[in-house]
């Protein structure tokens, strides 16, 4: 507790070295975020094409009944992925833009907003990583169960 108070209470001045690192970090983060937004938009557009393509493919008769639902599901999954990519990239973009502004104008509130966006970015990435681990563990358990049953 005392350690946490110490972490929050004192003010450290951002010096020239910190500024240089933050400026370069912001530059690369901006590039990555723009790339992420473009990829997210392409993924969103592509989701409709992939759905349509899957629904038009020829399947064996026993699969055909679920083909339409399957293509809708694939479209939805791609749309969710696109939304997540765009949302996280937007957080990163805001971090980069506001960091640049904060360094140029020495505005403390803009600097706070910048770090807030970086925090949100890593929080979302952390939650996604946790969900991914849960899915991997579940898949392994299901696989193990299938092997045992066979």
């Amino acid at each position: 507790m005392n350690n946490n108070e110490n972490l929050l209470n004192n003010d450290l001045q951002i010096d020239a070295i910190s500024q240089t690192h933050l400026k370069e970090t912001a530059m690369w983060a901006r590039f990555l975020s723009i790339l992420g937004i473009v990829v997210g938009i392409l993924l969103g557009i592509g989701s409709f094409f992939i759905g349509a393509l899957l629904s038009q493919m020829s399947y064996p008769s026993y699969y055909r009944s679920g083909a339409a639902e399957g293509s809708v599901m694939v479209t939805l999954i791609y749309l969710v992925l696109a939304a997540i990519t765009i949302a996280t990239s937007l957080f990163l973009f805001r971090f980069a833009t506001k960091m640049k502004q904060a360094i140029q104008s020495s505005d403390q509130s803009v600097l706070n907003q910048s770090f807030l966006n970086l925090k949100l970015y890593f929080r979302v990435m952390g939650i996604i990583a946790a969900i991914y681990v849960v899915i991997v563990v579940l898949a392994m358990l299901v696989g193990l169960f299938a092997v045992m049953v066979r």
């Binding site: 972490l7 003010d11 500024q19 690369w28 706070n112 970086l118 929080r123």
Partner: protein, 141 residues
Amino acid sequence: MPETQDSILGELSENQLDPYTRSCLIEISKWVKFISVIFFSIGGIALLLMLFNADSFSTDDGSVAYKAGFYIGVIIAIILVGGVIGMAFYYLMNFGTLVRRGLSTEDINLVNRGLHSLKRHYVIMGVISLLTLLFTLIQFF
């Protein structure tokens, strides 16, 4: 950096790591450590499974030499790419550790080293993205 330029940059900066920024950095450091640990765990397990599961790379042409060469090539490629991405995540973890330690000891040098690690993480990820973009564009044309 010359001393005069250094001092000018120093004077320009009135930004501080105030309590709000600190709380953000502390939460960021927790999340980046969590993300890095997950990356190293899953990456390590995947690499181990791949190293001990050579049969999954076997080909149908029956050539033992071809199979071995193909398998070794794939392993080398995975280790190279995994190593570079692993380095990026090592820097991310380093950023979290150093910034938190810097804030608890009031040491701006440690915070700076942490920020330097964050910069390296983004540089590596940026270069990887650039190369991926380049190879994707080459495939199109």
